[in-house]
């Protein structure tokens, strides 16, 4: 009872997608009756994140749940935490192999490159040959892996097809408009989350391409769900962040209380969300979905 778990993410304060994660651990904490905390580097600087893992370890929790955004940086602190007797579960970014390497119990998440690749293959099957990747967070390596994977899935060069969109919605919208009007024969648009998807939907509505151009996105959110429903967006890749936060807490609590542990890693995604069966998703989008 009252075990303490700390979740450390690599996202800057303002990244809204991570909110589902916060809600996920909060709910798990409540249900399992354990203490949970969420921490992140305020500016998204991974080097700061390493310090936070050190700090988390120093505060002596029972377990740490963390992303593995850059193994080079995070390996050291995570290994030190593991060695000092703290159990670690890797979530979200990273791969099962890396998770094993750093001594984590397991990995829960969606390997970003693979997700991108799967999406690319799906798009290729739908006859897509060129695309625009709207990257709103270009300095984050996993964002690039998604675009790269998608390009590889299509079998094309990524090249200039990924734009640095910035984070201001009006700028994202207008950059998308500018790109599409300069490259009118683009087949598809790929966005990396609500921050870039919401303005992109508006952009497409404005230039009349909504519903016409092939549109896929990572991660769900209120507007994205609506877009899927009305046919603007073909599919959303759901990595189910809720599970990424919820499951590790549950797994660890049970491990600490009863010594039980699943034998495998858990892939919370990629799941393709399409217009079928959206009701639950709609209700909880942005909160638990």
């Amino acid at each position: 009872e009252g075990e303490k778990y700390i979740l450390v993410s690599h996202a800057p304060d303002s990244d809204s997608w991570w909110n589902t994660i916060k809600n996920g651990i909060a709910l798990a904490g409540e249900q399992m009756n354990v203490e949970v905390e969420y921490r992140n580097p305020p500016t998204g600087d991974l080097a700061d994140m390493a310090r936070i893992i050190d700090q988390a370890a120093a505060s002596g929790p029972h377990g740490i749940i963390t992303t593995l955004a850059d193994p080079d940086i995070l390996e050291g602190p995570i290994k030190a935490a593991v060695d000092s007797g703290i159990d670690v579960i890797i979530m979200n970014t990273g791969t099962p192999e890396k998770a094993r390497e750093v001594g984590a119990l397991m990995y829960v998440g969606q390997p970003e490159y693979d997700a991108g690749l799967a999406a690319g293959q799906r798009a290729k099957a739908d006859g897509i040959g060129s695309f625009l990747c709207v990257n709103h967070y270009i300095v984050q390596p996993s964002s690039q892996e998604r675009c790269q994977g998608f390009a590889d899935g299509l079998g094309v060069e990524l090249g200039e097809q990924m734009i640095d969109a910035g984070q201001d919605p009006a700028e994202i919208k207008n950059r998308v408009l500018a790109y599409l009007s300069a490259n009118p024969d683009t087949d598809a648009v790929l966005t990396l989350g609500p921050t870039s998807a919401d303005p992109t939907i508006l952009a497409l509505q404005e230039n009349g391409m909504a519903g016409d151009i092939y549109f896929g996105t990572f991660d769900l959110g209120g507007e994205i769900v609506k877009g899927i429903k009305d046919g603007t967006i073909q599919w959303g890749i759901d990595q189910q962040p809720f599970l990424q936060a919820y499951l590790p807490v549950v797994v660890m609590t049970n491990y600490h209380r009863y010594g039980v542990l699943p034998g495998n890693n858990i892939n919370s995604g990629p799941g393709f969300v399409t217009a079928d069966g959206l009701t639950k998703i709609e209700e909880f989008a942005g909160e638990y979905r």
């Binding site: 303002s14 200039e160 500018a178 300069a182 508006l202 016409d212």
Partner: protein, 374 residues
């Protein structure tokens, strides 16, 4: 060290000649005007057929520029009054979030949410100003503190109240609200339909809106930008208060001794800057239908950059609203133009830095000629 001309009746043998053309040209906006011409020439040459100059393209960079203009007007007047505000970006995020919380979470009518938010943000601007004039601290530090404080609340509040950091659904509640449409609507839609029908502007050739004109109206954002520029320009150059703004920024002590209510002027300008930031936020929230905790990041710098490109003096007492508007235009056109021209987008920052440096050196040169300052 500051005397120049020995004015006796007639000419002065100790002044060399300055040509009248040169004298006519030297004005605060000159740098901005030269920059605007240069930028347009450049893109007309290198991105003409990229769609940058068709009706849709024009609307595209106009909107981006208009955004910059709205915050640049506030920043410009404040800078001329001798202060600046680093909390503009955080204020944008904060204002948007407040509107969302009031209207969606608390289900207030949207007009009330907007009005209360305006009141709140302008009060925070006044607080900023009050601290600056009372303690005499540099506004850099005071507003830097508010940059952090406001951003902190913008993340913390929705997180605690709504369990998410993006609050959407504002479009639905704003439907038919009279005040919302002043920020989020479009005007002259009829005109554009007519233009499209008569083939004067392009129409959509595919998709759901086939046959409709590609540009279907002027967004209120543009109207606000133009309105604020006119207001700022008139205020600054045509009124008594405008004189006080220059005086407060030129030498606060001297102005105070001459009977200019310097503290009042500065506080009012902080409030006006906050007002502009809130206009920006409201337009954005009404257009996009959601408020996010990450809105407005780095906007404070962009506002300052536009103002400085437009010829204002960072230390106050000199500048023009028209210049700032041109600065914002340059900024917007370059940013969008690089996309049209297909330049690797991460190089945008490099261009921005280089343009900033170039503009500011040109402006300094012009200012020195005007004021005889050395």
């Amino acid at each position: 060290m500051s005397e120049t001309v020995q004015s006796t009746a007639g000419g002065d043998e100790r002044i060399k000649e300055i040509s009248p053309l040169r004298r006519a040209l030297i004005r605060p906006e000159l740098g901005g005007m030269v920059g605007t011409v240069a930028v347009f020439t450049f893109f007309l040459l290198f991105a003409f057929d990229s769609g940058m100059f068709n009706s849709q393209g024009i609307m595209n960079w106009s909107i981006v520029s208009a955004q910059f203009m709205i915050i640049a007007v506030g920043a410009c007047l404040l800078m001329i009054a001798g202060e600046f505000d680093l909390s503009v970006g955080s204020m944008i995020g904060f204002a948007g979030m407040m509107i969302a919380i009031f209207s969606v979470t608390l289900s207030w009518p949207v007009w009330m949410a907007i009005l209360v938010t305006f009141a709140l943000c302008v009060t925070i601007g006044a607080l900023n100003g009050y601290i600056v004039v009372r303690t005499g601290l540099p506004s850099f530090i005071v507003t830097l503190a508010f940059l952090f404080i406001l951003r902190g609340f913008t993340i913390y509040l929705p997180q605690t109240i709504e369990r998410k950091t993006i609050i959407g659904g504002i479009k639905d509640v704003a439907e038919g609200d009279w005040l919302a449409s002043i920020f989020g609507g479009k005007v002259f839609q009829g005109l554009f339909v007519w233009l499209g029908d008569n083939g004067l502007i392009e129409t959509f050739s595919r998709g759901s809106r086939e046959g409709q004109p590609v540009v279907d109206g002027i967004p209120m954002l543009l109207i606000w930008a133009i309105g604020l520029i006119i207001f700022g320009h008139v205020l600054l150059t045509k009124t008594k208060f405008g004189n006080w703004i220059f005086a407060a920024g030129g030498d606060a002590e001297a102005a105070r001794n001459s009977g200019v209510p310097v503290n009042r002027v500065k506080v009012l300008m902080f409030m006006f800057t906050a007002f502009c930031a809130t206009v920006f936020a409201t337009c954005q929230v009404m257009e996009f239908g959601s408020a996010g905790a990450d809105r407005g990041l780095l906007k404070e710098f962009e506002a300052i950059i536009a103002v400085v490109i437009g010829g204002a003096l960072l230390t106050g007492g000199y500048g023009s609203v028209l210049g700032a508007a041109l600065g914002a235009l340059i900024f917007g056109v370059v940013q969008q133009g690089l996309f049209f021209a297909g330049v690797e987008s991460s190089l945008f920052r490099v261009f921005l830095g280089v343009i900033l440096l170039g503009a500011v050196i040109l402006n300094t040169y012009i200012r020195r000629i005007i004021t005889g300052e050395r």
